[in-house]
């Protein structure tokens, strides 16, 4: 063994692992905002649609969505990370649970995308895939001869 690394895909804000996952901040009395770690609008849109939401792309990569009777939106903040904005018709508990599910879906899609990207790029580099396994916690472990 020579070196061990921990990497975070650029589609995820690194703060996910260093701070509270969800921070709440009241903006106005009619609406509130929940912070997320999601940064990639295409992955987010895919996650929302796979969860059963209908989405509309707005300007500046923002996304409006319908989840059942509720209307919410994801807006990119100054750090280029999405915040979920919901109005008072949605309870904070429901909004937090919804965000939790969407983030789970988002990272699941990201895992598959990273896996595909790695296989393609490793092959281009001439690396030989020696083994591949799925662990009990659903991690994908790949070993390449380089």
């Amino acid at each position: 063994m020579s070196i061990e690394l921990v990497l975070i895909p650029i589609a995820i804000a690194a703060t996910q692992f260093t701070s509270e996952q969800i921070k709440k901040r009241k903006e106005k009395s009619e609406s509130y905002l929940l912070s997320s770690y999601m940064k990639d609008e295409k992955l987010l849109q895919q996650a929302l649609e796979q969860y059963g939401c209908s989405t509309v792309m707005l300007e500046d990569s923002n996304i409006a969505l319908h989840n059942g009777a509720h209307q919410m939106a994801f807006y990119k903040n100054v750090e280029d990370i999405f915040d979920l904005v919901a109005d008072s018709s949605v309870s904070q508990e429901d909004a937090e649970q919804f965000l939790h599910h969407i983030q789970d879906e988002y990272t699941r899609i990201l895992q598959q995308e990273t896996y595909q990207k790695l296989l393609e790029r490793a092959q281009k580099q001439g690396y030989v895939l020696e083994s591949e396994e799925i662990t009990d916690n659903n991690s994908i472990v790949l070993t390449f001869k380089v």
Binding site: L7, P9, N137, T143, V146
Partner: protein, 72 residues
């Protein structure tokens, strides 16, 4: 020894990578390569015993060579 990389992609998106059989500076060169391949940023890294063993060997050789040059 054969050179290998072991990469674990977690369901939370986090990626762990480990180089096997890569020595000294080769490991550091691999950091950038892996970041580009995975579209990811390194947030933590730790050298293992093998890295230090190799580095110490290189340092020892450098010192010996410098010492010889000094005597000449």
């Amino acid at each position: 020894m054969d050179q290998r990389i072991k990469i674990e992609i977690g369901p939370d998106g986090k990626i762990k990578a480990e180089t096997l059989g890569l020595k000294g500076k080769e490991c550091l060169e691999f950091l950038e390569k892996l970041e580009n391949m995975l579209d990811a940023e390194t947030v933590d890294s730790a050298f293992t015993d093998e890295y230090y063993e190799t580095s110490q060997l290189v340092d020892k050789q450098s010192i010996t060579q410098q010492s010889r040059r000094g005597k000449e």
